[in-house]
Symmetry: C2
Subunit: 437 residues, 2 copies
Amino acid sequence: MSIAVRHLDTSSATFEADFQRVLHWSAETDAEIETRVADILADVKARGDAAVLANTARFDRLDVADMAALELTRDELKAAFDAITPAQRHALETAARRVRSYHERQLQACGLSWRYHDEDGTLLGQKVTPLDRVGIYVPGGKAAYPSSVLMNALPAHVAGVGEIIMVVPTPGGERNPLVLAAAYVAGVSRAFTIGGAQAIAALAYGTDRIPRVDKITGPGNAYVASAKRRVFGQVGIDMIAGPSEILVLADGTTPPDWVAMDLFSQAEHDELAQSILLCPDVAYLDAVHAAMDRLIDAMPRRQVIRASLEGRGALIHTRSMEEACEISNRIAPEHLEVSSADPHRWEPLLRHAGAIFLGAYTSESLGDYCAGPNHVLPTSGTARFSSPLGVYDFQKRSSLIEVSQAGAQQLGPIAAELAYGEGLQAHAQAAEFRLQR
Amino acid sequence: MSIAVRHLDTSSATFEADFQRVLHWSAETDAEIETRVADILADVKARGDAAVLANTARFDRLDVADMAALELTRDELKAAFDAITPAQRHALETAARRVRSYHERQLQACGLSWRYHDEDGTLLGQKVTPLDRVGIYVPGGKAAYPSSVLMNALPAHVAGVGEIIMVVPTPGGERNPLVLAAAYVAGVSRAFTIGGAQAIAALAYGTDRIPRVDKITGPGNAYVASAKRRVFGQVGIDMIAGPSEILVLADGTTPPDWVAMDLFSQAEHDELAQSILLCPDVAYLDAVHAAMDRLIDAMPRRQVIRASLEGRGALIHTRSMEEACEISNRIAPEHLEVSSADPHRWEPLLRHAGAIFLGAYTSESLGDYCAGPNHVLPTSGTARFSSPLGVYDFQKRSSLIEVSQAGAQQLGPIAAELAYGEGLQAHAQAAEFRLQR
């Protein structure tokens, strides 16, 4: 049965309305989840480890005697690494090396302190320092991704974070060996088998066993998202992730099978994931649709793929590649493939995207695992204002100012004038005290 | 009457408890405010301009016929600039020039795109682009600060933001000429005399008159803070600001009057503002206290200053400057003055602070107005994980990846191995399709 994915056409009179329906996705906050999360946070704040133990028993069906049983030792992580296949070890280590290397470039490009003197001899600059301690949340259960361990922990390492605390729920006590092996490769400092709102609370407030962190990164379910939003300010958070998305801009030169599989690779994440293809060649859109129909039955996750494509996918015929770029900017996709023989012609037109994959050989999946850039990316249009997870998320900046005696004579009267204008006389006099009498 | 500011001593047995009491400040969310803000947001989302007009009439006592009456024209801003004194014009323009210049350095240091090729010929990099449109919130009423207009708008300008929308409440219709003049100098694109949660909602959702923005920056009262927290995700926000703070590390070489006035300059903001002095010389602490007692009566805002210092201030005797630095790191202050003859000896020990002011001549107030760095800084210990407002807040990054045919042969098997390990077969096959058969 052919996949009933929507075909839209920008020339159609109903395009704008159809397009809005495709885009519509609302992270409605569920009042019941909100209440339960608020209760869990308050419980962990009040009772610490006892609350972590109780909630882990309740929500993860993991009933243990004490917190020691919820901590993964370095030896356990190493044993997991030793137990996976040599091919898996090689893949994890190669991916880790490439991800580390990219983030080291990022540190050099935008993560170093700088300072200069202006003409009055005033020293100005910015000091960049790593966070002391961060928590990384790794989902467990059906969507346990070892690659996410690397993508969260390695930028923190490169930034120079002192201590990296990983939390990963193990429902029913079932541990994912690849996740543990990835934690070993990434060199996390400590790891706990806890999850949900109780894990976020423990990291944000600290307990006897679990140290309080300065920032929490990593994706999670609705409970985790709600908890992260609530502790924001108490600790830093990276972002609130929505469903994953891919947008492919195609000029019709890439084999249709390749693009079909790229659309599948997003759709297989979950039924809310979104795959959109934009192309000015209507015959090519049909060819990709035919390829999808031909390929779907061999996919183990075909039910999820079909539900995602039929529920949220779209094949959009545009008037031109330029128009396709404009539509892409309106969507601000998480992943943007420019599947074109001439990707550098279109890249400058693309203003908003989490990651841009250029050319037919650059499948999103290469970027997801091992090209080097981070796979934690802004979703749901937030690429309009936010960025991939990076070294900069694990650093903070402090302004540096040293005004010389001469500089104080230049700046003092200006500051005093503005301070008096704002009715802040102590501000003004603090500047004036530094003037030579 | 002597100012009853706390004296603490790190050698005292009760120091730790005393210190925790000084630090304790809780941004308790007020349930009534939360409910009212949720209602206002829903109202603006549903009714747009009509809700903005109704809420502005209700909360700001500004009842006008239509939205046009709530927009400030470029001519009105220019008229305000022309009407202030020449000294004020000069001060605003000098401050703007210096702030712009510092943020241009920031753009060069950490705001530019970069790319490189790895050994397989894979192009990797990061494209940095400005936000399309931002909203800046400027408080009105008793704390209307024209300097904040410069500090929010100029980094956005330097980043290359296309459109800057300013909102400033004018309770009872009373406009602050310096705020309007600063908006003229800073070159905001459009300005509206609205405030509170209704202004945040209008910027986040857009109305017929007010364009939807991508990010909202700037401080505000409890309603504004609550509204910003709620729209976070829908739009970007800068931070949730708490009371302002200064921490002075003194080695006893700065004239006590100067330090006393610096402590006053923070205390005069409001009664919750916090001023703390750390010094290993107990006689110097006494001298600063004596200076405060001598200077207080001449301060127009003496009531606020006294309430702030007696409620939240502290003079702390430390064993050494090293210990003072460690305590400063625990506090992670918004403003940190190193009032020492040898500030560069201590600066490397200071890990967490919004802005660091080095040496006796560098009063915080010079930095507040015109040294160049931003005065919008992380408060309440959030300097542990966040940074001054900067050009980077008005930019976002997109990863760039272009894998060559040769590179795809290297990366494909790695990605496929990891994807199969995660149970994501479409990811694996998308990589394998690019392998040469």
